[in-house]
């Protein structure tokens, strides 16, 4: 359903009850209009009837006055006849005056000479009424034989000695009443009519023959109710509404027939006004619905049209959307949604790009790997050919065998590197850390890289610190780091280049720098030289050899040792510099298994008890400590240790923790319990190096915790350091 249709339905829904109410109001209005007309017409009918009644009452009064004539009372009928004649002369509408006895005997007929009279005829009912009631009566229209013209009779009873003696009657011409009706000034087209009790016309305007009957519909209405409102047709056939009244005096009916067209004109006008109002309201409502529908629908349509383009469009509001708040909000929401969608798309694009980049690097790495692995195959194949060739000399054959050995070794190393790299990237590389001298690490690396350096005819200079430096490291791996860097330098330096290896101590850090005067690294490549698959932009110039795996592996190894590596270069052709920084873990002073008693500040001899359930450990450690010039005693278990400690009161006890029967913790507590035991320096020498183990040993009373394998130098330094403190304390005692 379209929005506009919806609005029309809305308007129609709202207007329908209103229409119904308006129609009802219209109907009520029409009814009211009719009733107003009816009330007015009824009023007119009443006043007309009053006029008729007044006319009749006037005639009756005149007749009653005559009835009370003294001549009549005195029985002087002749005089009375004369008096009647005078009265009749004064009443032009009167046709006659007659005096009749109650029995019906005519005594006087004023229309005829005295003494003559016609017999009473017509309208016997009103005569009888007057006799019966003793009150004046008014008759119906009658043709009459005495009076040929139609007339109505008014009758008045004449009383003598309390009894009715005569009835005085006067026939009146209806034309007199017609004049009364005409005096009502009924609008033309209307009908005003007076009917007698027999429902025959007494008078009518416009004229009809007096005495003719009223219409059937009017008669039926009058028979139903004495006063009211009749709808029907006039004798002329005009549809009319006829309000009518009945006179209490005469029993006659007076009606005013109004053409329906006149009555309904007002109602029609009211209906017309109401209808026009409804139509106008409907029109306006529909127009407004159309207009608002358009105002709402147009921006929505604009939004819908813009919807498809939101992804790419700017954030500017859609034209036309700002006129209606809700639509403006919708517009903003759509823009917001579009922006979110755009961002998401961009993010996806970025991820896709990154993945493509990673994929590309991987492909290039594979290409490089294939190259690296293929390279040794060339001399191998050549060597095989040479060995097979009969012209080959013994020297050439020997050389070829060496080539095969060399290249196989090289290839094996390549594969090892690959595996190492894989271990590093999975976090599976195991280091066999031990205390090792920098000098021996460098020597080993030099030896490994010698062929590559000689091959390039390079000159290698090595500068090491004057003082021996010791590291806590895996010597094989560390040597690999250095040789990788040397190989790299040899490889990327044109023949006859200069390679320099420099090691410096800076505080607790060792800086190893390998620099060359080779091809260098372009600036944009620097951040990527250690990346696993970083061959991408390097092009062919730097593609061969180590960069693919070598430097990535080197970095992995350095980081596994807790160090860092960085590359520096002034640019293409300006040489490269690789700087490795490694922590120096131990502050070694003298080289390992040193000959006895090096003259130092504290060359004092200590009495030391070495305790371990493994005999080899006891013997070797005791030998080392004796070599350092100490007085060494041994024990093979906890119990023995406590006994020996009580007997010897050593200055230092080196106590293994994990021993059968009495373990190191218990032994320590017991030794502390010996008199003087609290001041003995007790050192845990154990395979366990977790934090928890250190806490446990401290709690048991150990002064220090060393993890096997113990570095003799470190042990010696510790003994001298702690022993010196303790010595001062005990010495003072």
């Amino acid at each position: 359903m379209k929005l506009r249709t919806g609005l029309f339905v809305l308007v129609a829904g709202a207007i329908t009850p209103l229409l119904a109410a308006l129609l009802m109001a219209g109907a009520v209005l029409i009814q009211h209009e009719r009733e107003a007309v009816a009330r007015e017409a009824l009023g007119r009918a009443r006043s007309a009837m009053s006029a008729v009644d007044a006319e009749l009452r006037g005639s009756l009064t005149t007749l009653q006055a005559l009835a009370s004539s003294k001549h009549l009372a005195g029985g002087d009928l002749r005089e009375f006849y004369e008096e009647a004649r005078r009265v009749m002369a004064s009443q032009p509408a009167w046709l006659n005056i007659g005096l009749t006895t109650v029995a019906g005997v005519q005594m006087i007929d004023a229309a005829l000479p005295y003494g003559q009279h016609k017999p009473l005829s017509g309208d016997e009912a009103s005569f009888q009424q007057a006799v019966r009631t003793g009150r004046p009566a008014i008759g119906n229209v009658t043709g009459g034989t005495a009076v040929p013209a139609p007339s109505i009779r008014i009758r008045v009873p004449v009383f003598q000695q309390g009894r009715i003696r005569y009835v005085l009657s006067a026939p009146i011409m209806p034309s007199r009443l017609a004049e009364v009706l005409r005096a009502q000034q009924i609008p033309s087209g209307w009908v005003i009519a007076l009917a007698d009790r027999e429902r025959n016309f007494v008078a009518r305007i416009p004229d009809v023959p007096v005495g003719s009957p009223v219409s059937e519909s009017f008669r039926a209405a009058i028979d139903r109710e004495p006063e009211g409102w009749s709808a029907g047709h006039t004798l002329e056939g005009v549809a009319t509404y006829t309000p009518y009244v009945t006179s209490a005096l005469s029993g006659w009916v007076l009606g005013i027939a109004i053409p329906r067209s006149v009555v309904d004109a007002g109602a029609r006008k009211a209906t017309l006004v109401a209808g026009a109002g409804i139509l106008i309201a409907l029109g306006v409502a529909i127009g407004l619905a159309f207009l608002f529908g358009k105002r709402i629908a147009a921006p929505i349509a604009a939004l819908a049209a813009a919807g498809g383009r939101f992804e790419s469009s700017s954030d500017a509001p859609t034209p036309g959307a700002e006129r209606i708040d809700e639509i403006a909000r919708l517009d903003r929401a759509l823009h917001e949604a579009a922006r979110t969608a755009r961002e998401r798309q961009e993010r996806l694009q970025e991820q896709a790009t990154q993945m493509q980049e990673a994929d590309r690097r991987k492909d290039e790495f594979l290409a490089m790997l294939a190259h690296e692995l293929r390279n040794p195959l060339a001399p191998l194949r050549n060597a095989a050919w040479i060995l097979r060739d009969p012209r080959t000399s013994e020297a050439e054959a020997k050389w070829s065998r060496e080539v095969i050995e060399r290249q196989v070794r090289h290839m094996a190393r390549l594969l090892d590197d690959l595996l190492d790299m894989s271990r590093i990237s999975r976090g599976r590389l195991e280091l066999r850390k031990e205390r090792c001298a920098l000098a021996s690490v460098v020597d080993s690396a030099r030896e490994t890289s010698q062929p590559a350096i000689e091959e390039g005819g390079h000159e290698l200079t090595v500068e090491l610190p004057a003082e021996p430096v010791h590291l806590e490291a895996d010597p094989v791996r560390l040597s690999q780091v250095v040789s990788n860097l040397l190989n790299n330098a040899a490889r990327y330096t044109p023949a006859g280049g200069h390679i320099r290896l420099r090691a410096e101590r800076r505080g607790r850090e060792l800086t190893l720098t390998v620099s060359d005067d080779g091809v260098g690294i372009p600036g944009h490549m620097l951040p990527h030289v250690f990346d696993m698959f970083s061959q991408g932009d390097s092009g062919i110039a730097r593609s061969s050899g180590g960069l693919g795996i070598g430097l990535a592996l080197t970095r992995g190894l350095v980081e596994a040792h807790g160090g860092t590596i960085a590359a520096r270069s002034q640019g293409s052709g300006k040489g490269s510099e690789f700087i490795v920084r490694l922590p120096i873990v131990t502050e070694a002073a003298t080289p390992a298994p040193a000959p006895p008693v090096e003259a130092g500040k504290d060359a004092r001899m200590y009495r030391i008890l070495v305790v371990d359930d493994v005999e080899e450990n006891v013997v070797s450690l005791a030998a080392v400590l004796r070599g350092m010039g100490h007085d060494v005693h041994t024990a093979g278990g906890g119990e023995e240790a406590v006994v020996a400690a009580a007997r010897l009161l050593p200055e230092v006890v080196l106590l293994d923790i994990q021993m059968p029967h009495i373990n190191g913790y218990d032994a320590c507590r017991h030794i502390r319990g010996i008199p003087g035991g609290e001041s003995i320096l007790i050192v845990a020498v154990t395979g366990r190096g977790q934090e928890k183990d250190r806490v446990d040993s401290a709690r048991a009373g150990f002064d220090h915790h060393l993890v096997k394998p113990v570095d003799p130098e470190e042990l010696n330094a510790l003994i001298r350091r702690l022993g010196a403190k303790r010595g001062r304390m005990t010495g003072d005692r």
Partner: protein, 130 residues
Amino acid sequence: MTEPKREILVIDDEHDTRESLRIILEAAGYGVRAARDGSEGLRLQESNPADAVITDIFMPVADGLETIREIRSRSPRTKIIAVSGGGSAVRNPAYLETANFAGAHATLVKPVDPDELLAVLRNCLADGGQ
């Protein structure tokens, strides 16, 4: 061998490859010079251009392709055989093609069968002779 000894320049950064090729080529009766990179190779070409150059394309110091172009422009008569180390389908066909464009007369993939290398070399030199 009535004609003068043909001189071959071998350029390869790998010592063993160079030296083994030297033995093979000398056994086949060629005179051999060897260089470990492109710039050294170009220096050797300057004084007395070789009849043919066998060069590795992936070389660290000077781009193998650049070397090929240089040799072509300086000594147009020298035949060039380009050898690529990579066997991967990813990039090497493209590189070898590029080598062709750069002016190599033949392109081979490592590890080259010495007999094949000698055959290609013979063909190249025979063309050049005519």
